[in-house]
Symmetry: D4
Subunit: 215 residues, 8 copies
């Protein structure tokens, strides 16, 4: 398995990670991790590998784009001295282009996304044991949909970065595509973005599989 | 124009109409009509044709399906003695099949929908000057989407009823299809169901056009 | 029509514009424009001319007088780089004189109003495609009423400024006078200032007509 | 003076009297009388004539019209065994005709108002020492205003009833007319109906004068 | 009468004056004066002498002692440029000695009270037309009660200051003594400090009499 | 000591006992006994005599007079099958006469108080091991005060009933008189009725002494 | 695996199951299942076996004992026509004996527990495909603790019932014993009863294993 | 007895002391001491020795560990010039190690605890008449429990410090051990840390005994 005893594993991202996590640091008593897939992952480790003493931290903030991560990376990631950093970012970078088309500055163009993301990786790798990258997604099975098509480009950028730096890549978009062969997306999220508890369980399972967790 | 001086025009439906209308009767002071397209329609008449003294009533209830309308039709429609009844129902009848697939009793099959709807029309026409039927819709441009395909069947049922009884038919689904040639559906509604203010304005415009309102 | 593709149109004013708009900037998702005539205008453009991609911003603040606009003009208007600026100010400048007669500093004398207003125009015109001026108003049909008479002087000042700088002028006071030939003012506003939804629709219609919108 | 030691004086009416009085009976500790003119009157008697031990009861209910008083007259007036009954009703009977013109059943026609009011007097006089009638009013100095003109008719009806039954009549409308020679109505009430504290003090003074209170 | 047209009359003190007045300055719309005797006084002038255009300001703060007034005198009194200043202070200066006897620093000794008070007078008189001093009080008819006896000393100090500087003196303690010949103090205030509406009316009457108000 | 193992001890009374006790029955987890002297008594027994397994129940209701106890005695006392009943009632019976002098029906005359109280004792004694009577009180050291003098009569009535039926009598009024030789009453209660935590501790100590509790 | 396509699986119990589930029936949209292990179980099936279309219902109510289940069994279990019923009850039956020792009627003796439980099984088995029994527990590793020892008897009773009727038995107490070899109980629950998210995940895992779920 | 007239006695600690005490300083009117054992102690002195005029201050803050006391010792203890300081700290220093085992920095190792504690004593003794030390505790009767065993070490450290500096030592852990011979810990605290009212009474009794209070 990827993790070792006493490792500190930090998740950074947007509302998909956030889900009411504690401020300023998402950890500790009273559901400090919030109720997203991050908590699900921590809970599985907590009761299956209790002796590993892994420590989980959730630093997601609703509405964040990659440029927001960039601004708070030092305080919210590096200063917390994680051994592993899991990143799930990019949904809002694309979404604003489609739900707020008249506000030109609200979305992040692909190249800016890619470069900012890569810069975060480069700043981080010397200080950690590794990073896990998760693809941004849109729970839209129709690949011709304009926003889905755009999101796929951002997801591809993440995949390429994962490959370039030999990092584990969790292809959440592929996961949804597989799941929606069996159900309509509105069974997981009316807005096709924010998963219900079934959806978070599903994300957690893909992450756990990627890091070598055994049930 | 369809309406005459002092006519009473009642809107019945689900959450699309409701939008926080007053209980038990959606009329009168303090935004009694709520903030949906119903209010938009009433406001246009109120300042363009102030002498007509049209009275508008909003009896939408969030979550309703056609069977819910059936149960409250006497008290919530007929007892209020409208001259005109506008109906927008069917979205929840279909939606529950897709967002709650394991709950078999939560959605309304097509035939039950059609018959219940027709029965409401037959009960009502002798008591009113007319009815206006609006198609249920799903803001999904992709007609191959399972829920969109199903919704189209329900919309067709309403169209056929409108034709059978020679009633004005407002094809909201066609309206969205036209609009989404110019924008992504998430610009109107993240969940592709509940319109923002732009969406309600758009519904109101189609209704106004259908009843012969002149700007 | 007055506006061109991608134009940014900013509304500045008092509570008539404000109506719960988002802070610090009234734009974007979740009814960022509030629920006044500003939202009505934006919604009409949004569904009738979706390809124009006009961007609307509401910067009204309840209780403001022209001197308050003056203090925040740089940050709240110029810094937001609008192409068009629509101004509706002056009601509170007059109202305080009549509802708070013992507080001498709370209202704005006519000459101070005129000069401050003109100064704002002069500061702004070099940076925008144009401005639209709306008259302050009091929904009092009786022109002998002291406050109405005073408000008419402020309205005249705005009309004269509009003429001097060749700007579109929306005479809201004249609009109310016309409407109240058909109804009592309390049908629009108990306090004869803050319009209900019918009243905002009416303001929006006059603005839309003034800028060449076609229904 | 009109009142005698230990008299029970009951005020009945609409929101002008109500102002947050205690339910079900407006009396006793913790501002049971609310904050309208009723409390002002009771306070003046309470500290000027403490030995008279007058007991005051406020049974106003916001929004009431004369027909609402009629329905609750037995329980809310007669059962409470007052020695004196002060009535202030009629404002909503007229107001609804002007602020809700499309809702024909919401206002009370003059003849129904007069007859219902007289019936209440006839039911009550055998059981009490006397009644005090207060005119309904509209704080509109312009007698040509349609609602003011209509309100004057209702006020005249009350005056005629007072004369017919030889009851003290407090002409609040005349009081406002006198006061507004010195100020604009919006200094007392933005909506020209609900007085601020100055307005309630003024009503109380007129009542106190009518019943022979000496300062 | 003491006051002249357009005079500004400022009340300063503790919770007896405060009663929910507006912050930072207790004046203006929406019951800015709060609901204490200050509002009562202003209301009587407002409807009896509307042409005098007197402006009232309430700067009371709950819990204040004379040393608190001293700290905020410049900003809360002098900077507001009153023509008249009415002072009611001293209750908390004494009360804390009896309800918090173990907290030695919480009350103000008599000499400190007297000197601080006199200093405020000396600082103020050159800038105003006059000051009105009101005695602190304890609604305890029994003069042998320890707190009443102590309060009487503070009241005497105020009386002596009023005489020394020839200022109107409102002897509230004497007023309560007179009133409680007719009723028990708990009819005005359970805690013998904070008057109900009857009590505030009574304070207002004494003030009005002292300044020559004619009913 | 008065109590035996497993005894059920029920306290009945007014707000002095109530202090936020649980409804409908004041017992059990989460401070079911409220925060009055009742809880203090139970806590002392709970940690000093844990093996006695005494069960305490608080059935006080704020504002109650003896006639209110009479109405709910069957359900709130007898049906709960107590072994001991402690009664503290009478304060409101007297208080209303002084704080609400114009409301003649709000207080309970002495004879009615005595007879109702005696009737409760007679109904109860056959079903219990005993009753403890506590005197009503007014924290007013001055025995010439009208309300104190009246309260003393009610207290005497309770003392006489205790003697007649040989019941333990806790003379709370005498307790306060003793305590106020050392402090002012406002150190215990601003309103001279509702004790702070020191006052409740003091009541509890007197009760504990009366029932033979050893520290 | 135990379950078949389209099965309805109902969970009944106390607060451990409840965790804010929807009323009156814990199912459907908006986290209708609450946030306990019930939701965890449903989520795992929902994303791993989406085609099975299993329907889950949570009918836990905080504070319930077996006698409470008995009273609501018809409406809350049988009327909902489940195929499978999972029971987790008994904790409160024992707990009250230790946290409320003076309230003799608040806990359920072992024999009453056993008989009531068995009666529920007998009533149910003819109508369902099967039942799953979960042991009540106390997260106290020390078996000599009085409450743990008592709870073990109740757990044994459930185990015996499971064996008698050949039902799957989930030994939660044994699960905690195993887990607390690796951590202190306060890492799962401060009160040793209500699990945090890690604890619920752990319960869910044991249930899933018992019914043959494959990860 | 330990204390002398007019002494100031300050309690410092964690949530066990805090219980909603007033900020910034826990003293004075309106339950400034909160509802923990601190208030119980003050209340007993207040009504038993009213002439001593002891002043009590509660400076507990929930969640504090000894290092938190260290940071605020100057402002929260020394600056308040107490004559006596009572310390109850250490529970959170140990607890975090067991309820948050993965967060290594959240608990305080024994040596750091001892040294910090001793340092506080050394800084304080020159300025006060004396200190009272209370042992941290865990309401776990089983001494083999890992957290209890650890807590005993911290308690021993406090005992040794008390002996070294000849300070009164209140052995709360021994107190609980004695009490739990008669009841289960969950009768005092579900979480075995935060006492209910019985528990606080019990702590207060031990403190009172230690300082020579006579009932």
């Amino acid at each position: 398995m990827l993790f070792q005893d006493h490792d500190r594993i930090l998740f950074i991202g947007d509302s998909i990670s956030d889900y009411d996590r504690k401020r300023p640091v998402g950890e500790g008593l009273f559901e400090g991790l919030g109720t997203s897939y991050v908590s699900d992952i921590a809970c599985h480790f907590g009761c299956t590998y209790p002796d590993m003493m892994l420590h989980f931290i959730n630093m997601g903030i609703s509405g964040n784009q990659v440029c927001d991560l960039d601004k708070r990376w030092q305080t919210d990631v590096l200063d917390l001295k994680p051994d592993w950093v899991s990143v799930l970012i990019g949904i809002n970078d694309v979404w604003r282009r489609f739900d707020s088309p008249t506000m030109a500055n609200e979305y992040v163009p692909l190249e800016e996304y890619r470069q900012t993301y890569e810069n975060l990786i480069v700043r981080t790798l010397p200080h950690v044991k590794g990073m896990i990258l998760m693809s941004p997604y849109f729970m839209e099975p129709n690949r011709q949909d304009a926003m889905r098509a755009e999101m796929d480009k951002y997801g591809l950028a993440v995949r390429e970065l994962a490959e370039k730096y030999s990092l584990p890549f969790v292809d959440l978009q592929a996961g949804w595509d597989e799941l929606f062969r069996h159900m309509h997306p509105c069974n997981i999220a009316w807005d096709r973005i924010h998963p219900n508890r079934v959806g978070h369980t599903y994300i957690a399972k893909q992450f756990l599989k990627a890091v070598g967790y055994e049930w």
